[in-house]
C-alpha cells in the first residue's frame, strides 16, 4: 500500500494531491532558506498562527453572503489578510516600542490564534450548515481535497518559486549583511517585505495540506538540514528545496494510505528524519564528523606529548599514548623508543625549542600567537626564518 502510494498508483486524485504537496514543499524549503539566513526563522510561526482569525472571518463572511464557507480561494484570501496584518504589527512593535522581536512574535502569535479560536467557536454555534472542514486547517488533511484545491496549491507553489528565483540575489545580500546591502543601494525594508510576503504565501498555501500549526516546520527544518551539508548559500537553498519537496511528497503519499494518518505531522516527521540523519552524517557539522575530529585531535596531543616524553627519557605510563606510538613503530611495547621514534622525538624537541625561542622574541608576536603545542613550526615560518631562529638556539642534544 505504501509502495503504491509512493509510486503514485492510488488514483488520479491522490497523485494530483501528492504532486501539489511536493511543489509546496519545494517552495517552502527554498523560501525558508532565506528566512533562516536572515535569522528570522520563527517569524514564520507568528505568520502561520495569525492566519486563523482571517480564515474564520472569511468563512463567516462567505456564509453570511449565502455561499459555501469552505471555498478555498476565499479562505486563503482571508488567511493572507490577517497574517499580513500580523506581520505589519510585528514590524510596528519592533520599531515603535521597546519590545524585542521574540516578544513581538509571541504576542502576535498567541493573540491572533486566541482570536481565531474564538471565531472557530462562533462558527461551531452558527446554524449555517456543517462546520466540519474548518478543523482541518489546524493540522491539515489531504483526504477529501478537491482537484481544484490541489491545482491552486500547485500553481501558487510555482509562482512562489518563480519569484524566489527573481529575488534570490538581493535576498541573499540582505540575509548575509543588511548594512552592506543598504550601503550598496538595496532597499532592505522592501526586500524584507518581499521575503515576508513569500513566507506568507507559502504559509497560506500550506494551511490545507500541512495545517497552520505545523507549516512552520516545513519552512524551518529543510533549510537547517541543508545548512548542515554545505557552506555555499545557493546550494543550500536548492538542497532545502529538495528536502522540503521530498518530505512533503512522502508525507502526502503515506497519509493517503490510511485515514488515521494526518498529513501535516507525517510531512513534518519525514523532514525530521532527514534532519536527524544529517545531524549524524553530515560532513564538517555532523555528529560523526565531530567525533572523528575530536579523536584526531586527541591522537595528535597524545603523540606529541609521548614524543616529548621520549625525548627527555621519561617512561610513558599512559596506555593510549604507548599504543599510539607502538602502532606507528616509534616505540616498543616496553616503552623504549625505536630508531624512528628517536628521530621523531628529536624533531619534536627541536620544534618545541624553536617555538620557545619564537615566543620569547616580541618581533614574532603574530606568529607566536599560533602556538598550541601541536602546530609544526614549518607551517608558520619560512625555511629562512627557521634558519635564523636556529642560529640563536643552544646546540640540540641527541636523544639516547
Amino acid at each position: 500500500m505504501i509502495w503504491q502510494a509512493l509510486t503514485l498508483q492510488l488514483g488520479y486524485n491522490a497523485t494530483l494531491v501528492a504532486l501539489g504537496a511536493t511543489l509546496l514543499g519545494i517552495a517552502a524549503g527554498v523560501t525558508g532558506s532565506f528566512l533562516f539566513l536572515r535569522k528570522r526563522a520563527l517569524v514564520s510561526d507568528a505568520v502561520s498562527h495569525a492566519t486563523l482569525p482571517g480564515i474564520g472571518l472569511a468563512f463567516i463572511v462567505m456564509v453570511a453572503m449565502g455561499g459555501d464557507g469552505r471555498f478555498l480561494p476565499g479562505l486563503l484570501l482571508g488567511a493572507a489578510l490577517s497574517s499580513g496584518l500580523g506581520l505589519l504589527l510585528i514590524a510596528w512593535m519592533m520599531r515603535r516600542t521597546r519590545l524585542s522581536e521574540d516578544a513581538a512574535i509571541g504576542a502576535v502569535l498567541s493573540v491572533f490564534f486566541g482570536a481565531g479560536i474564538v471565531l472557530l467557536t462562533v462558527i461551531q454555534s452558527m446554524n449555517a450548515g456543517r462546520q466540519a472542514g474548518l478543523d482541518t486547517v489546524l493540522l491539515g488533511s489531504t483526504a477529501g481535497m478537491l482537484q481544484s484545491d490541489a491545482l491552486v496549491i500547485a500553481a501558487g507553489g510555482a509562482v512562489v518559486l518563480l519569484l524566489v528565483l527573481l529575488l534570490r540575489r538581493p535576498m541573499l545580500v540582505v540575509g548575509f549583511d543588511p548594512d552592506y546591502a543598504a550601503v550598496s543601494g538595496t532597499n532592505v525594508g522592501r526586500i524584507d517585505l518581499a521575503m515576508m510576503g513569500l513566507v506568507m504565501a507559502v504559509t497560506v498555501l500550506g494551511i490545507t495540506t500541512v495545517g497552520l500549526i505545523l507549516i512552520v516546520a516545513l519552512l524551518i527544518i529543510p533549510p537547517v538540514t541543508a545548512r548542515l551539508w554545505t557552506d555555499h548559500a545557493l546550494r543550500m537553498v536548492a538542497l532545502a528545496g529538495v528536502v522540503g519537496g521530498l518530505s512533503a511528497y512522502v508525507g502526502a503519499a503515506v497519509s493517503a494510505t490510511a485515514p488515521a494518518l494526518p498529513t501535516g505531522p507525517i510531512i513534518v516527521l519525514a523532514s525530521f528524519v532527514l534532519f536527524a540523519l544529517s545531524m549524524i552524517l553530515a560532513p564538517a557539522r555532523g555528529g560523526l564528523a565531530l567525533i572523528r575530529r575530536q579523536m584526531r585531535f586527541r591522537r595528535r596531543v597524545h603523540r606529541r606529548q609521548g614524543l616529548l616524553a621520549l625525548a627527555v627519557g621519561q617512561t610513558i605510563h599512559e596506555p593510549f599514548t604507548l599504543a599510539l606510538l607502538r602502532r606507528e613503530g616509534l616505540a616498543r611495547a616496553d616503552g623504549v623508543p625505536t630508531d624512528a621514534g628517536r628521530a621523531a622525538a628529536a624533531k619534536a624537541l627541536l620544534d618545541e625549542a624553536r617555538w620557545a625561542a619564537l615566543r620569547a622574541d616580541p618581533a614574532h608576536g603574530l606568529s607566536a600567537s599560533r602556538y598550541d603545542a601541536l602546530t609544526r613550526i614549518e607551517t608558520v615560518l619560512t625555511p629562512d626564518q627557521i634558519a635564523e631562529l636556529d642560529r640563536h638556539l643552544p646546540r640540540p642534544r641527541g636523544v639516547s
Binding site: 533562516f36 535569522k39 528570522r40 526563522a41 520563527l42 514564520s44 510561526d45 512593535m93 520599531r95 515603535r96 516600542t97 521597546r98 519590545l99 524585542s100 521574540d102 516578544a103 512574535i105 509571541g106 504576542a107 502569535l109 498567541s110 493573540v111 491572533f112 490564534f113 486566541g114 482570536a115 481565531g116 479560536i117 474564538v118 472557530l120 467557536t121 462562533v122 461551531q124 454555534s125 478543523d135 489546524l138 493540522l139 500549526i213 505545523l214 512552520v216 516546520a217 524551518i220 527544518i221 533549510p223 537547517v224 545548512r227 488515521a260 494518518l261 494526518p262 501535516g264 505531522p265 507525517i266 513534518v268 516527521l269 525530521f272 534532519f275 545531524m279 557539522r285 555528529g287 565531530l290
Partner: protein, 308 residues
C-alpha cells in the same frame, strides 16, 4: 449572582486567574532575557509528553500527565541546546526544528492510539476546557465554607494554586541573583553566580507553570500569558518590581474580562452560545497590550527620546 455563579462561573474564573498569574510571573524574566518564545516551544512539546504518559498508564490521571509533560519539556530544552551547538545555528531555528517535530510526533501518536474513551484530543490541548471546570456540589455562596461541598471543587483549582505558590516561592528565593543574571549576565558571572543554572532554573519554572496551566486552560492561554501581560507591564515602568506587579494586575484583568466576555458577551449581543474562554482571554490580553503600546508611559524604544 447567586448559586449559579458560584457553581458554574466562580471555579473556572478562579482557575483562569491562577493560570494567568502563574504564567505571567516567570514570563517577566523570559521577556527581559529575550527568551519569550521558550514558552511557545514548551507549550507545544507538552502534548507528546501527556500522550506518552497516557499510553503508558492508560489513564488520564494527573500525576503521570504532569510527569510526562515535565519530561517532554526537559527533553525539548536539552534537544534545542544540543541542536543549536552541534549544528551551530541560531537558537530560534533550533527551537523551530525541535518543537514542531515533537508536536507532530504527539499529534501522530494521538491519532494512532485509541483515545475515544477519554477526553484527550488536539483541540483540548490547544484551548483547554475552562468552561467545563464547574463545581457541581455548590449550592450558593455558603458552600465556600462548607467542607463537604469544598471537597467537590474541580481538582484543577488546588493544583493551580499549588503551582502558583511554588512559582512565587521560587521567584522570591531566586529574586536577586535572577534579576542580576537577567540584566547583566557577564556581571553576574564575575560575582560568582551560577548563571547557567539560574537560566535553566528559570526555564524549568516556566515549564512547571506551562504544564500546570496547560491541563486546565490549554496551551493558547499559556503562550499569551507568558508574553502579553509582561510586555504590557514593560510599557508602564522601568522598575523590575513594579513590572512584575503590573504584569500580575494585567494577567488578572485579562482572565476576568476574557472569561466574562466569552461567557456573557455573546448573550448580550443576542447570540445563544458562548465562545471559547481561553481564546477570549488571550484576545483580551492582546487588547490590553495594544492599549499600553499606544499610551503606556514607558513604551518608547531605548534609543528614542521620550517626548511625553
Amino acid at each position: 449572582m447567586g448559586a449559579e455563579f458560584v457553581a458554574l462561573s466562580l471555579p473556572p474564573l478562579l482557575i483562569g486567574i491562577l493560570a494567568a498569574v502563574t504564567c505571567a510571573l516567570p514570563g517577566n524574566f523570559l521577556l527581559l532575557r529575550r527568551q519569550a518564545l521558550i514558552g511557545d516551544a514548551i507549550s507545544h512539546v507538552v502534548l507528546p509528553g501527556i500522550v506518552i504518559a497516557f499510553l503508558l498508564t492508560g489513564t488520564i490521571a494527573t500525576l503521570p500527565m504532569l510527569l510526562g509533560a515535565a519530561g517532554a519539556a526537559l527533553l525539548a530544552v536539552v534537544l534545542i541546546e544540543g541542536v543549536r551547538r552541534t549544528a551551530r545555528i541560531e537558537a530560534g531555528a533550533a527551537m523551530g526544528v525541535v518543537f514542531t517535530s515533537l508536536f507532530a510526533a504527539g499529534v501522530l501518536l494521538l491519532e494512532q492510539s485509541d483515545t475515544s474513551g477519554v477526553h484527550l484530543d488536539v483541540e483540548h490541548a490547544l484551548y483547554g476546557n475552562l468552561e467545563s471546570l464547574i463545581w457541581l456540589d455548590a449550592t450558593g455562596w455558603a458552600s465556600l465554607v462548607d467542607p463537604v461541598a469544598l471537597a467537590g471543587l474541580p481538582s484543577e483549582l488546588p493544583r493551580m494554586a499549588l503551582a502558583l505558590l511554588i512559582v512565587c516561592l521560587a521567584l522570591w528565593l531566586m529574586w536577586r541573583p535572577l534579576a542580576i543574571a537577567t540584566f547583566d549576565e557577564g556581571f553576574a558571572a564575575t560575582l560568582g553566580l551560577p548563571v547557567r543554572a539560574i537560566g535553566l532554573g528559570l526555564v524549568m519554572l516556566a515549564a512547571l507553570a506551562a504544564v500546570a496551566a496547560f491541563d486546565a486552560v490549554g496551551s493558547i492561554i499559556v503562550i499569551a500569558m507568558f508574553i502579553c501581560p509582561p510586555a504590557s507591564a514593560r510599557m508602564m515602568t522601568d522598575r523590575l518590581g513594579a513590572q512584575v506587579g503590573w504584569s500580575v494586575a494585567f494577567a488578572i484583568l485579562s482572565a476576568v474580562l476574557g472569561y466574562v466576555a466569552a461567557g456573557y458577551g455573546p448573550l448580550w449581543l443576542g447570540f445563544e452560545n458562548s465562545v471559547s474562554a481561553a481564546g477570549m482571554i488571550a484576545t483580551v490580553s492582546g487588547l490590553i497590550l495594544g492599549v499600553t503600546m499606544l499610551a503606556g508611559p514607558r513604551r518608547h524604544p531605548a534609543g528614542l527620546a521620550r517626548k511625553g
